[in-house]
């Protein structure tokens, strides 16, 4: 700590250069936090997927339906605690860009399977009592300004109603909150019985099943057992962990994570060069002063530490502010206006950011620091 003043004074001597370097580091880390939130939005569900939940879908693809009768047969598999079905509705609200997940479900079973969906008792009762009732997550409700009691028209892109009607009207009976920050609050859920009897085709079919198992350690074994039950049938299944299922779903729009990581890596590499260049200049300009420090009794390693410390301070200021501003910016709201299921900076991104600050400080400072360490006092004082 006693050297902090010295490090700080060194940074202040070329204010403009230090400020510009800090700003460039700041922008990189702000981008890191912001893109981390977007990445989290795209991969939502993967990390928070229940370890004790499996997904059973058609072996060919998710688009192929499964019979609703499979539910009871799945529940008979040893190790399975409960099974519920869900289906992809794929409608839009008012215009094609207002796209979000809508799914017909069995209300009570669904809420039991997903305890992270918090619904008041009154809203739960209202949903059970209203065949055309639907609940929406807080995120999607806020996005469109919905409130309980509203009638929500959804235009079907797949499931037309009997008689060819495209528009489905639902009564919004509840708005759920997420138990966790990572809970998806962009879902629009309505009753399967209403959906099944009203749709023009596909009665008795569902999209996929979510299965709760007793022992997550046996998930592979139970998944195989479920698939075994339906082997050689018209509707063969593929059972996998919920996380893998969500990942596969996210991958349908491209490997967003990889794209984001590529952007972040390119930005960081550039900033590393900027910070490294700044430190190299700083050391070159201060050859004489570093020699004086050594003459006064600072060891070679001590001088190395001072240069690395200065780089660490510069990076910590820029990186710390960048993460803070990124976090604040994310707090201001989702850039897609609610299309992302969740939008927040996960703790692991902040932790990774702090680790990156340390790595960047080391990489940017190590070469100039070694140069300073190797400095010969008598030679440097003669320059």
């Amino acid at each position: 700590m006693k050297y902090l003043y010295l490090l700080w004074s060194n940074l202040r001597r070329k204010k403009m250069r230090s400020v510009l370097t800090v700003l460039s580091i700041l922008v990189a880390f702000m981008l890191f936090a912001y893109l981390g939130a977007i990445r989290q939005g795209f991969s939502q569900g993967i990390d928070v997927a229940g370890l004790d939940r499996l997904i059973v879908r058609h072996k060919v693809s998710l688009i192929q339906p499964l019979p609703v009768a499979y539910e009871s047969r799945i529940e008979q598999v040893e190790g399975v605690v409960d099974a519920i079905h869900q289906s992809w509705f794929g409608g839009v609200y008012q215009k094609p860009t207002n796209f979000f997940p809508q799914m017909p479900v069995e209300p009570e079973e669904y809420l039991a399977m997903y305890p992270e969906i918090l619904l008041s008792d009154d809203e739960r009762k209202a949903w059970l009592a209203t065949r055309s009732g639907a609940i929406a997550g807080r995120g999607i409700a806020d996005r469109f300004g919905w409130k309980v009691g509203d009638r929500i028209p959804i235009n079907a892109t797949i499931w037309t109603r009997k008689g060819g009607e495209q528009t489905w009207e639902f009564d919004l009976v509840g708005i759920y909150e997420g138990a966790e920050q990572s809970t998806d609050t962009t879902l629009f859920l309505f009753r399967y019985d209403f959906f099944d009897e009203s749709r023009q085709f596909g009665q008795g079919q569902v999209g996929w099943y979510t299965v709760r198992i007793a022992d997550p350690a046996r998930s592979a074994e139970i998944a195989a057992a479920v698939d075994e039950v339906f082997a050689n049938s018209q509707y063969e299944t593929k059972t996998e962990a919920e996380g893998a299922f969500v990942q596969g779903f996210a991958d349908q729009i491209g490997d967003v994570s990889t794209i984001i990581m590529a952007i972040v890596a390119a930005v960081f590499f550039t900033i590393l060069l900027v910070a490294g260049n700044t430190m190299a200049y700083a050391v070159r300009e201060r050859t004489n002063e570093l020699a004086v420090l050594k003459a006064l009794g600072f060891t070679d390693r001590g001088v190395l530490g001072l240069v690395l410390g200065e780089c660490a301070l510069l990076t910590a200021i820029g990186g710390g502010l960048g993460l803070l501003f990124g976090w604040l910016l994310v707090g201001m709201g989702d850039p897609t206006n609610g299309s992302l299921p969740v939008f927040f900076v996960p703790n692991r991104v902040l932790t990774a950011g702090i680790a990156l600050i340390a790595v960047m400080a080391f990489l940017a400072g190590i070469l100039p620091a070694l140069q300073a360490q190797r400095l010969q006092i008598a030679d440097a004082l003669r320059r």
């Binding site: 006693k2 050297y3 004074s9 060194n10 003459a295 006064l296 009794g297 600072f298 390693r301 008598a378």
Partner: protein, 251 residues
Amino acid sequence: MNEAVSEAAAGQSLVELRNVDKIFRRGSEEIHVLGGLDLEIPAGEFLALMGPSGSGKSTLLNLIGGLDRPSQGSVVVGGARIDKLSNRRLAAWRARHVGLVFQFYNLMPMLSAQKNVELPLLLTHLSARERRKRAALALDIVGLSHRAGHFPRTLSGGEQQRTGIARAIVTDPTLLLCDEPTGDLDRKSGDEILDLLQALNREQGKTIIMVTHDIHAAARASRTLYLNKGQLTTEPEELVVQAQTLSQTGA
């Protein structure tokens, strides 16, 4: 008073150089700066080293101060064979035993006079308060208490050099090594610095080795040695003439 001075006061030399060679290599060329040099400096002495440019004065000072190592021979200061110390130990030894005063002050431009003087104390275990106290005392000794908060760019040359001297004495070193301490100052400021060095030598018993081109500065010392072509001599005239000749020809 430190132990090295006490030992020397008991009749031992504080600084002993034996058969010291210093060779610089520039590519394949070898430049012999010092050759077979012997020197003893008793504690409490104020020694001036004179000689023409390139004669090896600063090199000799660097060897005594542990800033450089001899190519051959031994350098013993206060009983320690410093040419054999590791880099880390040598640095610690310098911090403890050597105060350096440079021709161009070599103050840290971003630090105030007070903070410049505190700099060597960062290597000690003193508290921040104690460091401030000792730096203030050193600045008081050199008569700069009133300029403690000023940065080097706002100080005159003489004031900067006094700050440099305060930095050199703040750790109460065994040796004060001054490389042309008045070389960048006008006569009046130079005289003030020399007064200060003399006072440190006489009143505080500091052993001072001063490299200088200036006969007037050398006259303040208790002994003057002359270096020419890497050899020491006590005979000044010939060298002074040489030095003056070189000076007149601009060499």
